[in-house]
Symmetry: none
Subunit: 175 residues, 4 copies
DNA sequence: CATGAATGAGTGTTCATTCAT
DNA sequence: TATGAATGAACACTCATTCAT
């Protein structure tokens, strides 16, 4: 059912993203949909959570004994892979999330992910500037912005994209 | 009428962005709205055009006798100012544009803007890499991503933001 | 449109009382219905108001220079006529009103009507008991109860019913 | 299960009165509910029957050797007690009964109850008028109307209410 | 017998668009 | 040209009922 929702969102965009369409695509009745989710918002939230969890898990799994530069690269690699996996979905979920009331679980997951970013940016071999406020936000924004645009252009070559993002972030940090 | 649409979008978001609300806010009847615009999509497109034109004009006005680095900084400055002027509007228009079928005028304006970017990146004192494909797109994406995120965080200090964006773009270009 | 709602309520009961049915019966689209009423509750409230207003006007028009007994009889006559006019509608509105949140206009109208009852019961030639609390409520309840039951039995002879109600109320008051 | 239905009806009104809610409250599955009752209507009917049976039994138990006036008072006392026991339930069942198709068992029970009324009203020390048609219906309506209104006002003092109802009925009968 | 997931017709409501005035 | 009442497809959601396990 979540996968059906994801598919609809990717294929038809926000306009086609209706509970009836989701149910039909999932091959269940609209009534069943509402037995698993209390409402449309819950479906979207679950979808967001699912996508965010993949990234969080990838990122948390990065070997913390590695140097900061190496970890940063791996982090970017994970973020790129995550966004490139389903670029349209990632973008639309991002958009729709803004309409939803804040959700505890989503917020927690976002905080956990940001935490990993912050730890990496505070590593020993990182410049002092990297620990400043807003830096984490900037780095995330750079990654998101570049990968999003690449996704919209239809880029699929993750390796090349990762290299460019690494260059941008490294440059920003003064590495 | 366009300003009414902009206001509604900023104040009520995509959910409140209805033709009736726009007409009421503009102080005209819904019938009149449809005499000036063939449909809701046309209103949004006109709004997008209006906002893009401001940026294009600012950018086109940059003194082309200046060095590439200086022009790049001015360009970023203009982009930041443009996005920070009405951050919510800029973001929502961006989102809603994706729903609309491609539009000739919008595309032309985007191409014109990108053209200026490209010329600056191809300036004599710029590294060779800057002329490669993707680079223009990447730079635009970095700027958009960072400024968007800043707008969402509620940042209003354009000067500090410009500096950070310049740093990111310069780093990315290897300046 | 109100008349359509009334008709549906009378013919199909609360079960058939849907906005779509009302619109269809009224010969307008569902959209038009919602241009005149903000919601289903508003339709029901307007209907209640309409019915209550008839009774209030009848009752307020009773010549206040008459003796208490005479006025009481006229009041009962008016109440009977009102309830017998559309007995099913009166009853169902009564039921549905209980589901609705309290409404200022309805409450005011009810208070105005009760006020007239109270004034008549406090007339000079009325027994002292008539002025006691709960008496107004009891009298209204007797009238409503008897007339409602008569309506459900299909009685249409107002004159005979009025006599019996007068007898009950007079007996209750000790006249 | 019936008690669960009664509880839901009292606590949540007709809006909350759903088969799922009843089953949950009763601690059984919705499937089991449908093994004991063929449908929602049957549950409501059974509930009506249960409540009516209590009154019928009370009334049938009245000593038939007593005088008519005394028996009438006892009957009213029983009716008041019955309605005041669970005033909200009594009222809502009354309302919901109107939606249901007529039921043999309910009708029989109602007839039995009315029969007792009629016998009392035909007692030797009762006025001739009491035996007329409509009188039984009127008396029942007076009692129901007054007690219902009292229940809605939140009255709980049965004794005072019984006295007032007796006064109304006696007055009506010309006692 | 008991279960509860599945069903889908039906509900109240919104909103982009049209067109007679 | 301006108006705004009218339209109706579409939406999110509910709930009485069924039936495979």
């Amino acid at each position: 059912m979540l996968e059906a929702a994801a598919h609809i969102l990717e294929r038809d965009g926000l306009d086609g993203y209706s509970t009836n369409a989701i149910a039909e695509r999932a091959g269940v009745s609209i009534g069943s949909l509402y037995q698993y989710f209390p409402g449309k918002a819950a479906i979207t939230r679950a979808l967001i959570l699912r996508e965010m969890t993949v990234l969080r898990d990838d990122i948390v799994g990065i070997d913390s004994t590695l140097g900061g530069k190496e970890r940063l690269e791996r982090l970017i690699s994970a973020a790129v892979a995550n966004q490139l996996r389903r670029p349209v979905l990632a973008r639309l979920l991002d958009v729709d999330e803004a309409r939803l009331p804040p959700d505890e679980n989503v917020d927690r997951l976002a905080a956990e992910t940001a935490q990993v970013f912050q730890e990496i940016l505070a590593a020993a071999d990182m410049p002092d500037t990297a620990a400043k406020p807003y830096v984490t936000g900037d780095v995330i924004a750079i990654i998101r912005g570049m990968v999003d645009a690449a996704g919209r252009r239809g880029e699929t070559n993750a390796q090349g994209l990762v290299e460019r993002v690494v260059r941008a972030v490294s440059g920003y940090l003064g590495l």
